[in-house]
């Protein structure tokens, strides 16, 4: 068995290399913006994903539930090594259309707050932007130290498959990163 693995090692390495290089080439990420705001106590972020006009509207007008999954990671930048993870936050926002009343029920699953809007632009804005979202307490960070905030946004049209393996191959619609440091 060991001999067999050694014999096919190069083959599998080449195959894995091809797949590793190929997937990022295939999917061109959509762009977005990320800004970090500080006040005297809390660190906020404002993130927005710039998507095509019909990315959300087509599905939402057809009554399809659209969900955006915001995965925010805050880490301490380290040279020659992986960043030190400080915060790992997931925000899920969902817009469920009601075709009979032409309204959309907007739900923030992280906070549990929901609201109904009757304007699709409001629903799209709700889905595509995260405004002044509180990340973490300022006291957790050190001054004059470089930190990195990265946001990966995944867009789901329809019901979200909650199985653990469902999102393994789900590509991110947008990825943003912003470095900051406390003055």
């Amino acid at each position: 068995m060991y001999h067999l693995l050694c014999k096919w090692r190069n083959f599998f390495l080449i195959l894995a290399g091809i797949l590793f290089v190929a997937q990022p080439i295939v999917y061109a990420n959509e762009s977005g913006s990320l800004k970090i705001h500080l006040d005297h106590k809390v660190i906020y972020c404002t993130a927005q994903i710039t998507v095509a006009d019909n990315t959300f509207s087509l599905a939402m007008q057809d009554g399809i539930t659209v969900t955006t999954e915001w995965h925010i990671q805050v880490g301490k930048v380290r040279d020659y090594w992986l960043n030190e993870a400080i915060a790992d936050i997931t925000v899920i926002r969902r817009a469920k259309p009601d075709l009979l009343t032409r309204s959309w029920l907007l739900t923030d699953t992280s906070s549990g707050i929901s609201q109904r809007v009757y304007n699709i632009e409001d629903a799209i804005r709700f889905l595509s932007s995260l405004e002044n979202f509180p990340l973490l307490d300022r006291s957790l960070l050190l001054t004059n130290t470089l930190y990195s905030v990265s946001v990966d946004i995944k867009v789901h049209a329809g019901e979200v498959n909650t199985a653990w393996w469902a999102n393994l191959w789900k590509p991110a619609a947008a990825s943003m990163q912003q470095d900051f440091s406390l003055p």
């Binding site: 091809i18 295939v26 009979l100 109904r116």
Partner: protein
Amino acid sequence: MSRINIMRLIPLFMAVMLLTVTVLLWPSQDDGGSPLAWVNVAIMLGLSLLLIQYGIRLLREHSEPRPGSRLRAKLVIAMIAMLLVPAMVIQMAASQMVERGMDVWFDVRVDTLLDRALNLAQGFYERVEKNMKRNLLDYISDGVLLAAVSGNMDYRSTNAYLNEIRQTEGWQKVELFDINERQIGAVQTGELSTLQMTSLNETARLSMHLGRVVTELVTRDDGEVAVGYAPLIGPTSVIGLLRVEIQLPTGVIQNARAVEADYRSYRQLEHNRQKISATFTHVMLFMTLVVVLLAGLVALLFARRLTSPIGDLANALRRVTEGDLDVVISESPQDELGSLARSFNKMATRLKQNVAAIEQAQKDLTQALDNSRQRQYVLESLLANLHTGVVLVDGDGRVRLLNQAVRDILHLPDNWIPSADILQVSHGNLRDIGDFYDELRHQKEELLQREFDVALPEGKILHVLARGARLSASGTKFSGYLLVIDDISDLAEAERAKAWAEVAQRLAHEIKNPLTPIKLSTERLQRRFRTQVDNTEVFDVCTKAIIDQVERLQRLIADFSTLARMPQPKIREIPVNTLLQDMNELFHSYQRVHVKMVDGQSDSICQCDPDQIRQVLINLMDNAIAATGDAEHHSVRLYAELTDEFVAWHVEDDGDGITEEAASKLFEAYYSTKVNGSGLGLAIAKRIAEDHGGELKLVSRTGPTHFCLKLPRHMPHKEGS
């Protein structure tokens, strides 16, 4: 490019095709990044890499591949191709079917139908809301309600009015709130005990804030309720809120929601139409690839099982070709291949036995050949060293073998070679050989012996003894004749000489005895009766003649005796010049005799019997002097020549020479050209020379007449002087 090279490129062609298909089916974002798509890509890439690796190995492979590997590859490729073609056809048909099904499912008519159904449902809701809003607009500035909100009505009157409104408008529930969201009154259909206090939500506040009539739908456990909010606008601002509810009919709502759910599902499917198609394609492709992989694996196992005995057989054949006959292959499969393996093992065993037998036979043959060569070598050596001539003739009369001795004896011409027809080459002086062979061939007896003379080209007559035997060995197919030729000239000569010697000795003995009394009687007669005869002259002549003839007869008899009883030479060393000096002193009275000493080699000696050699030289000198007569211009020359091995005495004279006929019989006994010669002088001289191991020969017959006595300077053994 040869066919083999094209065959070797097939895996690379297949890899390129598979890579092309992989690129065409590369997962796009529309597919949603299906894992199945990536699995398919991985499988196809893996297969492509395998094919590329196999193709490169085939191209780089210069030596003969392992036995059975090509057959195995062909079987696997054939089985995969047999499976791949229908699988691809099925996949294409299924794809077409799915596409057609999709077109049917997402038909425009279905789309329109769903839109209309949704519009109907939406119209129901809109109508309810519109009616509710229109009705609510009538109460925005209702004085009773404003008074109630302002606190100018009692609770009973307020509820009564609200109940009246409810009944008038057909609402199920009516609530009245003041600006502080405090409920002023509330009525509802049914029991009042079930009436519950509800607080205002954001919509209600929004309605109050904006001063607009707002409606909303609220879903509860008992169904859906249309809720309307109408701000009560006082003289200056909103001072209260009228909240009403209409319980929507359950059946209609269920139908409407069902239409909405169906519409949503339909749109969801339509939205995922491309993804569904891609997923179907990927599933089909995955199934095809799995089937191909399984088929390839099964084909590989099957081909390996099938080709393994063939490979073993080919390998065994290669080893047999290289000479390894100990190879044995497995006979396990009880099928045609097993039968083939058993046959091969039997063949190898028989081959091994045959090879062993051949090797043994070869060994025996080699040994026999060696023996034959040894015998042939011995025979050839024997024949080469034989002084007897041997000729082997086969049954067809062709010479198979003849040794050097027969060539030397008979002076055979060049056409006497092996394979020559003996009858054709036996012509001229060799005709007797052919006649002898012909007689041997036609006679019944096995052996034949004849003596006959053969005239040699230089005029010499050779007396040969020919013996022949018929060869017909029973163990061999060879049959022929063996001719043995012996030169018996010397033997015949010796026998003749011996016979003559015996005759001479007997005659000498018989004649010699009466000669002496005759001579003595004649001398007595001469002494006593000479005076008594009348004619003394005649008497003297007669008696002298008798005495001379008797003396002559005595000398003749002495020569006969000498020839018959030639003594053995008494060898001793003597200077050559001594003999020459003796000859010079003996013949110095003749002016024409010139004896020349050996210059610078006065002490050169030779081993010989000086008396016999002196006798030979005297004989030669006497003959030369006799041949020259009294002519003054003729001379006789005697000189000697020395080499390391031989000494040669030369006697030359300028006489009339010797005729050719005389020259041929010169050394025969009793042949003489002189009147009084016995004819034994040169014969005795020749015999002396031969007894010394040398020779006496006539170098030239005339101009000058030249004799040469050639003797070896050193004899093998010498007798004491």
